[in-house]
């Protein structure tokens, strides 16, 4: 027994010695094992992010480091607040100055007492569905950007969090009817919103906003066409980028989500500023304008003054009844 044991021990010893002898040249060379090792700064310079392999199921966690969140942070905390603040407060300032100096744009001929249908039930439904969603989306969205510096100090952490939580749910869920509204607006009013030569003249005369000028216009004047395209393009952009953020990683990685948030928020604050202008003109800015979306019927004199070409088309279609009361000068235009 003892002899067998000794033989085994000897054999092992010989093997170990052999290994040592073979390994000796390698250790003698003083190999630096990090000579070819990956370096953090070098990887960051190459790609601005470091990605590798993970053995857990969540493959997205393979991104080790992506410092570009810093630029996004700068945008979200500084740039966006400036752009949004200037756009929205600037728009409000312009409106206030305009209202104080010019006041409500009156109907020059006064009310005729007769009305003409401008928007039917369905058009008004789509408008108000989109508009009411937009107001909630705008307030809940502005809360994410401006709530922390403005509202949080006033109402405290718990109340602000509670409100923001509900605002987030509203923002997410109302995005769906809003998107449907934008699509319907695009389809139902595209016919009247293709820019044409009349718009050039309308825009050159400043839309008749100042003074008593009334440049001719079809159903939608150049200003309304602008609002239309802001809603369609702006609404489309916020919808696409919004869904990219709402369903993380379904469409994009994290860098594209930062980009999506930048586009979403910039377009949104400009959209809000444009809509403030739209709300002003549609309510206290112009006599007789609200009825178009209120009851759907506008005064004939309003239609004559602001949409003379559309009024001509409508009366021509409706028959000579309305056409008789039309002054010759209007028709000449």
């Amino acid at each position: 027994m003892a002899s067998i044991e000794r033989i085994i021990r000897l054999a092992f010893g010989a093997c170990a010695l052999l290994l040592l002898v073979m390994a000796a040249p390698a250790t003698a060379q003083q190999v630096n094992p990090t000579a070819s090792a990956v370096k953090e700064q070098q990887l960051l310079q190459e790609l601005n992010r470091i990605q590798g392999r993970v053995s857990i199921p969540d493959q997205r966690s393979g991104v080790l480091e992506q410092p570009q969140g810093r630029e996004w942070r700068e945008f979200r905390n500084v740039t966006l607040r400036w752009v949004g603040g200037v756009a929205i407060l600037g728009m409000i300032a312009i409106i206030v100055i305009f209202y104080l100096s010019v006041g409500m744009v009156r109907l020059e001929a006064g009310r005729s007492g007769r009305t003409i249908v401008r928007f039917n039930m369905f058009e008004r439904f789509v408008h108000w569905m989109t508009a009411s969603c937009f107001i909630v989306l705008a307030i809940s969205g502005l809360n994410i950007t401006f709530g922390r510096p403005l509202l949080l100090p006033l109402i405290g952490f718990e109340a602000f969090s509670e409100w923001s939580q509900w605002a987030k749910y509203a923002h997410n869920y109302l995005s769906f009817p809003f998107t449907i509204g934008v699509v319907l607006i695009f389809l139902m009013w595209i016919g009247g919103n293709i820019p044409n030569k009349v718009d050039v003249d309308w825009a050159r005369r400043g839309g008749g906003l100042i003074g008593h000028d009334h440049p001719p216009a079809y159903r939608f004047n150049a200003g309304q066409k602008m609002i239309y395209w802001i809603v369609v393009i702006g609404g489309g952009l916020v919808a696409i980028t919004g869904y990219a953020l709402m369903f993380p990683f379904y469409m994009t990685g994290i860098e594209a989500m930062q980009m999506a948030q930048i586009v979403h928020s910039i377009v949104a604050v400009l959209f809000v500023a444009a809509m403030i202008g739209h709300i002003y003109i549609g309510t206290i800015g112009m006599e007789g304008a609200f009825e178009a979306m209120g009851s759907g019927e506008v005064d004939v004199n309003w239609a004559r003054e602001h949409h003379s070409l559309w009024f001509d088309q409508e009366t021509a279609r409706a028959g000579p009844d309305d056409g008789q009361s039309r002054p010759a000068t209007e028709a000449a235009e």
Binding site: P33, G69, R70, S161
Partner: protein, 198 residues
């Protein structure tokens, strides 16, 4: 007070994933969420390195800066924590984080990111230290018991170091000096705007 930091010595990490498992078990982390992960770079190629990564508890933390409801706070030990009662699950911290630390449990239908979850440096949350509520929301509070994060404590090769930033940096420097090489303190420049020469 100490300034707590993590340091992963990539030349020692053997990608055993024990830190990942220990973290999940210690805190009973929700399904689908990994507060810590091991990323292998240049896998199978010369110069391959593995790095264990979690929340780095950054100086001037980006997550805290962009949070719309201001739910983050930094403890006296420099640990970045957050309140799940205040978090609204908007995803902003996750856009800002350089290390992919914030994660959200899937709650309800589309868009409803749950309350954000991330590494707490084994320091719990705003609830009373060691309370049941704290454990349920954030996991164990080892720091309050005078212990360091479990991932680093049980690292078999002592690759992952946790503790006061100056002390673990010193340990790392001595290692680099003794063995003659080191691939650097991964993430330190991004997280703490400083680095350890190697």
């Amino acid at each position: 007070m100490a300034r707590m930091k993590f340091l992963c010595d990539a030349d020692r990490c053997i990608e055993c994933n024990a830190c990942v498992t220990a973290c999940k078990n210690e805190h009973e982390v929700p399904w689908g969420i990994n507060r810590r992960r091991v990323v292998t770079i240049n896998d199978g190629k010369p110069g391959e390195r593995s790095i264990s990564m979690a929340c780095m508890h950054c100086t001037d933390a980006p997550c805290a800066a962009v949070c719309p409801v201001n739910c983050f706070y930094t403890t006296a030990d420099g640990v970045v924590l957050h309140s799940k009662d205040l978090c609204i699950g908007c995803g902003y911290c996750f856009y800002a984080c350089p290390f992919g630390a914030p994660q959200y449990p899937k709650v309800g239908n589309f868009g409803s990111r749950g309350k954000m979850d991330k590494c707490t440096y084994c320091a719990g949350g705003p609830e009373a230290d060691g309370s049941k509520e704290e454990y349920e929301k954030y996991g164990a509070n080892r720091l309050a018991e005078g212990k360091l994060p479990l991932c680093a404590e049980m690292c078999s090769t002592k690759s992952l170091l946790a503790g006061d930033g100056e002390i673990i940096a010193q340990i790392y420097k001595e290692r680099v000096l003794k063995r003659g090489y080191g691939s650097g303190a991964w993430g330190w420049k991004t997280a703490y705007r400083e680095t350890i020469e190697s």
